[in-house]
Symmetry: C3
Subunit: 120 residues, 3 copies
């Protein structure tokens, strides 16, 4: 249950601190890029979040159990676009800790990469 | 107690490996930037570390219980300046694991961002 | 034992999700660069992986118990070279979650940095 996660200074985008309860099984994800690299930034972001939903479910978890998220953008100035989609995707009251910085990604067409840690 | 954390190859700046004891509650923090973006690099670094002290205390933790720290600098050549402040801030014998790389941060005025994981 | 780690969508390079069993002691490593900065990319990569083997053993762990790996490259286009060495180093069926992005590292001669999280 998501009640086992304690969050501090929580907003819709992120919590400043997320407490993983003792004894929780943790899920470490690989960094996810869009499975369709021809998509624009909005499309790539939605593609990644859909992949995360699928993979969370496969591993017996869900969005509300994400502890921490790392977002890399090929251009940090595009973060407002990604944030708008992210803010809708995150369940109300269950935002993970988060960091977002710029980095050159595997291919020039990769505009965003997201990596998460969750509990079961 | 900080005795529950085991550190390997520990220096004043970082430990090469930090062992989180089984059964510890973990605190995942969001990446922290300076709340005052007009400060110079020293000021931003001190501002972030003061924020971390406050947030650690709020969550029932403390500096000596930091497990790992990620530092992003907008210019990696400035790391010696940040390290000098960091080395004083870290409690003797309780340095976390650490990595420090360059990345473009949210705003051009953001010179440093620090993200930590701690135990309670 | 490595049986305690559960992996989802596993390949030789990485698993998409790696599950840390409840109650495992976790080892957080510092980002590792080559101890010999005059080496070429292949040499630096092998140097780092050898360091990780030593440090894993010191802490009572091993390659097959790595949960997650972060790889920074000073030039992301060199990743195929690093991947070839990495793929051989990772024990079959025991690949960690992974992300790999470009970042400027401490010194211009640092071509690759690797940071891992493992269980005991």
């Amino acid at each position: 249950m998501t009640e086992t996660i304690k969050r501090y200074r929580t907003g819709q985008r992120m919590s400043q601190v997320v407490e993983v309860p003792a004894g929780a099984s943790m899920l470490h994800f690989a960094g996810q890029i869009s499975s369709d690299r021809t998509l624009d930034l909005d499309g790539q972001t939605r593609n990644i979040l859909a992949k995360l939903d699928t993979m969370l479910e496969e591993a017996g978890s869900e969005r509300a159990k994400i502890v921490s998220a790392m977002i890399w953008l090929s251009d940090i100035r595009t973060r407002h676009q990604v944030n708008a989609i992210w803010d809708e995707w995150v369940p109300e009251g269950a935002a993970p800790a988060r960091a977002c910085v710029e980095a050159r990604l595997a291919e020039p067409t990769d505009l965003v990469e997201i990596q998460i840690v969750a509990i079961k």
